[in-house]
């Protein structure tokens, strides 16, 4: 199957990606879906990307088609995805001799990188996250969330096109 994704960036970066026909892999210790190439399935999220993080909003949006088989895609929002994540955490934490520190972003990134590295069959990971931090903690999470997905590498990207902000009515 093919899935559609959008990646907001600057015009210079978009030109470079279009020229090389490949994306740089995002790496770090706080990447929500680990090391990979990030996309939003919703165009407006990519269009507004940057604007919500305090920098300028994207002036170019790259449109990609990702070719992936159903069994190569792990959606952490589904019951099966959540069950997998919870079971995995339970199994790696069941040891009494150590505990995992409580930094949510670092743990999130480490867990996903563990999955990326050891599940070579997975090519795409997706999940919904809130772009805003929790202000008042409640049992129910009232924040709005947006879906994003991360592609392991450029091999799964079947098409890249560019949409200029100025061309969007």
């Amino acid at each position: 199957m093919y899935i559609t994704g959008y990646h907001g960036t600057t015009t210079a970066a978009a030109s470079s990606i279009m020229q090389q026909k490949r994306f740089d892999i995002s790496k770090g210790d706080r990447q929500w879906l680990g090391n990979g190439i990030y996309f939003y399935p919703d165009f407006s999220d990519a269009l507004n990307w940057g604007g919500t993080t305090g920098t300028t909003a994207s002036d170019s949006i790259l449109h990609v088609l990702v070719k992936v088989r159903e069994e190569e895609m792990l959606d952490m929002d589904t019951q099966e995805g959540k069950r997998f994540g919870r079971e995995l955490l339970d199994r790696i934490c069941k040891d009494e001799d150590f505990e995992i520190d409580k930094n949510a972003e670092v743990n999130q990134c480490a867990l996903i990188n563990l999955i990326w590295d050891r599940c070579r069959s997975i090519k795409v990971l997706c999940a919904s996250f809130s772009p805003e931090k929790t202000k008042v903690k409640t049992l129910l999470d009232f924040r709005t969330k947006r879906k994003e997905f991360c592609v392991r590498d450029n091999d799964s990207i079947a098409y890249i096109g560019v949409i200029k902000r100025g061309d969007v009515k």
Partner: protein, 103 residues
């Protein structure tokens, strides 16, 4: 549709047979920050740690002398008899001593 059992087997393949040290090294390789439970020798320190409470500024949520739960209770972290800045993480050999009630 993914098969979560198959994925678990892929991720954890061989993991549970590793020694403690090997498991820790592997998890740290992926970026997990691990804390050694055995390094905390006093029950007080361990309790604070297990309840996921921080000791920032030397204040934790706990039960005060009046039996009120959730009160701010001050703790002094000591290392080898010397007062240790409570702002820092609990050191390897630490004692937590309840000093006084803040509330």
């Amino acid at each position: 549709m993914i098969d979560s059992n198959r994925l678990l087997a892929e991720v954890l393949g061989g993991f549970e047979r590793l020694s403690q040290t090997e498991k820790k090294q592997l998890l740290e390789k992926y970026g997990f920050v691990l804390e050694d439970n055995n390094s905390r020798t006093t029950s007080g320190a361990k309790a604070v740690h297990r309840k996921k409470q921080t000791i920032s500024l030397g204040v934790v949520r706990g039960m005060n002398s009046k039996g009120v739960n959730g009160a701010n209770v001050r703790f002094c972290v000591k290392k080898g008899g010397k007062a240790f800045p409570a702002k820092e993480r609990i050191p390897v050999v630490a004692q937590i001593k309840k000093m006084e009630n803040k509330d």
